[in-house]
């Protein structure tokens, strides 16, 4: 009978160990936030991405909707080409949205914030009718506003703020103001 008890304990031990591993994987690590592969890729050019990393968050209104997939240097345009993977369920982002690189907190991680544009849709058209009144014409469900799709590029981008550059600008502005003051003498 003691063998039986030993076997039960060993079974419990192994099950507990596997449960602990499972808990680490599901509850502690980022496995639960891995998105499905059904996202689509969007690219954007930035002059300066300093601090942004692959797997950084892409957010809109503060909600994470994707991740940075790839960052390469485009040697022809001499700027950084960032490829973002947006989750498939967010397929209604207007194609004239803008992308900016922000910092979470004072010293936190960099992330990309998207801001929705007006959407270059032609579904509604303003026109003057015969009586001189402005008329709003709705083209109905046939036309869809143009949205970001696989491979589309975000044109409006704003670079990451680099502290040294800001301070440099500030100092040079300060110095030039000093020069102006001294001139009248």
């Amino acid at each position: 009978m003691t063998t039986r008890i030993a076997e039960i304990w060993v079974g419990l031990f192994v099950a507990g160990g596997i449960a602990a591993l499972f808990m680490l994987a599901m509850k502690v690590s980022n496995l639960s936030t891995y998105e499905s592969d059904q996202g689509y890729d969007v690219t954007a050019y930035f002059e300066d991405i300093s601090g942004l990393k692959v797997r950084s968050a892409v957010t809109m209104s503060g909600v994470r909707i994707g991740r940075v997939k790839e960052i390469v240097f485009d040697k022809n345009r001499l700027s950084a080409l960032v490829t973002m993977e947006i989750e498939g369920e967010y397929d209604t982002l207007p194609d004239d949205s803008s992308a900016s690189i922000y910092t979470a907190g004072l010293l936190g991680e960099k992330y990309i914030g998207l801001e929705p544009g007006a959407g270059s849709n032609d579904c509604e058209e303003l026109s003057l009718d015969d009586s001189g009144e402005i008329k709003l014409e709705d083209k109905g469900n046939d036309c869809k506003p143009s949205t970001l799709k696989q491979g589309s590029e975000i044109k409006l981008t704003q670079d990451s703020l680099v502290l040294e550059k800001l301070i440099g600008q500030f100092i040079s502005k300060f110095l030039s103001e000093d020069d102006k003051k001294e001139e009248p003498k």
Partner: protein, 258 residues
């Protein structure tokens, strides 16, 4: 003078002989593991004495280490207004370092010394020779199951240590010190990577389990068959395996997280 040089050479040769014997033994054990397939009962018995009996010390230490991490981390992070990152700190340090390393040290003290003493005493009371007389290979019958049980137990124990430690940090950080519940888990999940952190932690604990059980089994099998010899071998197991774990930890960390 000449005698001392002779002694040095003797010690050096002895060291290399032991090193060689240890490696030959591990190859013998690994080669003999296939003979265990028809006798899973041997492994289950050893899993009980090596793994299950180490459970209490591992779980209790894990909980306290996690609680201390929570307390220390909170006091440091609160100065920067970053106490929400407590979960990240506790989880990363446990999963990457403390889980595998502290578990391996405790395992060497709890299970490794017991393995050495048991095998050493078997040798001292000539049970191993008796087995050989009956054409039973003690390496396959005695060392193999013990080695395999230690190798299996270590990663399971380390995983439990880390999981319980995270709960201990949660208990102190969220329960006693008032860190936000959601921030504790969400920041943790945002920063701990399954492959970079947890997978590498498991590899570390596998390596430590291999080394600690190997040293324990070898020291027991190689012990001088007297009571003093067995006691020396037991001490050597704890000292050598602790040093090996800490040294290997540095190498593995350099390889994994550079």
């Amino acid at each position: 003078m000449l005698n001392q040089i002779q002694l040095l050479g003797h010690k050096g040769l002895n060291f290399f002989q032991r090193l060689g014997r240890g490696h030959i033994l591990i190859f013998d054990i690994l080669a003999g593991l296939s003979s265990l397939i028809p006798r899973p009962n041997l492994i289950v018995q050893q899993l009980y004495s090596v793994g299950v009996l180490s459970l209490i010390i591992i779980v209790v230490s894990g909980f306290f280490v996690g609680m201390v991490m929570g307390l220390q981390g909170y006091n440091t992070l609160v100065d920067f207004g970053a106490e929400e990152s407590l979960g990240v700190m506790v989880a990363l340090s446990l999963v990457r370092e403390l889980g595998p390393v502290v578990t391996a040290l405790l395992f060497a003290g709890r299970a490794g010394s017991a393995l050495t003493a048991e095998i050493g005493l078997m040798k001292a009371t000539e049970q191993l020779s008796a087995m050989e007389m009956m054409a039973v290979d003690p390496v396959r019958r005695v060392l193999g199951p013990r080695f395999l049980a230690g190798f299996i137990s270590m990663p399971l124990l380390a995983a439990m240590f880390s999981a319980v430690g995270v709960l201990g940090g949660y208990f102190v950080g969220v329960g006693l010190l008032g860190v936000d519940d959601g921030a504790y888990w969400s920041q943790m999940q945002a920063s701990v990577d399954l492959y970079d952190d947890i997978y590498n932690g498991v590899i570390k604990s596998l390596v430590f389990g291999f080394v600690v059980t190997w040293i324990a089994v070898f020291e027991g099998y190689d012990a001088i068959p007297t009571s003093e010899g067995v006691s020396r071998a037991t001490t050597r197991t704890v000292v050598h395996s602790s040093l090996a774990v800490l040294g290997l930890d540095f190498i593995l960390t350099a390889l994994m997280f550079n």
